[in-house]
């Protein structure tokens, strides 16, 4: 039994389309609607008009893009430019405030290392727990465990509780499980940065194999090496808007030039 939704039947069908997508995130706290203001609202409706209008931040502003089978896109931009918000929207966690978002294909995401990892359980047990969380078929879990154990090179440490692991070790484990079973769409946010060089190379190879099987990759990172290793295209975000979509070499050159100019000044 598979619990993965809306599997695309063929590679051609696999797609992500965004039309004029706007995402507003509410900020609660000041002026926010709480139980008191809801209860008092009928009495003070005339005087206190602002009650209930909580401030918002526009995380994504008029995003248009379409991705198809074979696209491997790197998201770049400053902190707070909207990279994570866009990834969460693509994953179906956030819904657009306005605009249209269409997706065909199964999605897997690696946004943080905390999800589902049980610190008291051993590495082996966590591979099993995570595999079930991601909805991998039960019959395949034994093979997956062997595969992940071989990939992450943690050896004896896999028998230890995960609370004794370093960040990098956790990443190896999580990354191994996320990429253990094919998915049409893979979304990754900024986590590969904590790994060492040898793992990056290994991850790179695995990701290449994985993306060969899966159709679309969207990855957010500040690391040029990661971006050029994993992606063909670079999508630059600023203040929730897409400001450029370029092949990856150009992007690296641009940044190089920009850095040189900066040095010259």
């Amino acid at each position: 039994m598979s619990i993965l939704p809306d599997k695309a039947t063929s590679d051609e069908e696999l797609s992500i389309e965004l039309e004029d997508v706007v995402l507003d995130l509410p900020i609660f706290g000041r002026n926010a609607k709480n139980l008191r203001s809801v209860l008092l609202n009928p009495f003070f409706r005339k005087t206190d008009h602002a009650v209930g209008d909580s401030p918002i931040v526009r995380a994504l502003d008029g995003i248009n893009m379409s991705l198809k089978h074979g696209d491997r896109v790197g998201l770049v931009g400053h902190n707070g430019a909207g990279k994570s918000s866009l990834l969460r929207l693509l994953a179906g966690i956030y819904w657009p405030t306005s605009g249209i978002y269409r997706k065909r294909g199964t999605t897997r995401c690696l946004f943080g290392l905390g999800r589902g990892v049980e610190p008291e359980a051993s590495g082996f047990e966590n591979i099993e727990i995570l595999s079930q969380l991601f909805g991998y078929p039960r019959s395949a879990i034994k093979d997956i465990t062997e595969d992940v154990a071989e990939f992450c090179e943690l050896g004896d440490a896999l028998a230890r509780p995960v609370r004794t692991y370093s960040e990098g070790m956790r990443l190896r484990l999580c990354f191994g499980v996320v990429t253990a079973w094919p998915s049409d769409i893979l979304l990754i946010d900024e986590v590969i940065g904590v790994s060492d060089r040898s793992f990056k190379e290994k991850a790179n190879q695995r990701m290449k194999d994985f993306t060969r099987q899966s159709g679309i990759l969207v990855l957010a990172s500040h690391d040029e090496q990661i971006l050029s290793g994993f992606c063909h295209e670079c999508l630059r975000l600023d203040h929730g808007k897409i400001i450029s979509r370029t092949p990856i070499e150009d992007e690296v050159d641009q940044e190089g030039e920009a850095a040189q100019e900066g040095d010259a000044e």
Binding site: P26, N34, I93, G116, E118, E120
Partner: protein
Amino acid sequence: MESLIQSANQNLAMAFRRIPVAWMLAKKSIQFRYRRSIIGPFWITLSQAVYVLVLGIVFATVFKQKGAEMIPFVTCGALTLSFISSVLQESSNVLIEKGQAIRDGDQYFLTHVLETVFHGALIFAHHTVILIVVVVVCKVPMHWYDVPAAIGGLLLICVNLIGFGFLFSLLTPRYRDLGPLIASALRTLFFLTPIMWKPEFLGDKEYLVAYNPLHHWLNLVREPLIGGEYQVHSLWVTVVTCIVGWALAYVVFIFCHRKLPTWI
């Protein structure tokens, strides 16, 4: 509106398909409790045992009742109610606590509530030791069908808890005052519900307990285990609260499931 209902149903369908996952997670978290402690969750059972025994003895004395009658009554009532209130409290905060996991991709909200209810039920399963001891020691007259009836009642309570727990869990991320409000309401209900006293002690005000749904929930578990009479109307009240709870949760879910991840 149509697409809202559609996406709500999809989200729920995914959550239902993940019931085995929720069960697995609940089971694991119990297992991990044993890992660094010899008796694990039985510590809670132990403290509950002392608590219900003291309650039973004190109130049997205060109300001048026979201990052998009062202790099973108090034990069944107090254990079941503490199960109910702890599950409701935990599930009302579960989505806030799992905020990070939800934003990292676990956006099938009902799964988290199911995990909480399963976890509470497994802890309660440890407490059945107390029930067995009390029933045997106090020589409660039992029929063969009493135990299945109590288990059935417990399952019905669980279905209720999933409904109401889900409802509360959806509202608390938005209205943070609800969490403490629910907690204090449950504490008050502990005194308003016949646990330490019997409904007939109210005299001519006995009819008041009929308006307390918790009393009817408890009846389903308690009456079979204390050799009491089965209350058929309690069964109907429980079925009705079940439908009401699930219906409310479903309607609230339709309207808030898309916005919920932005609230946590």
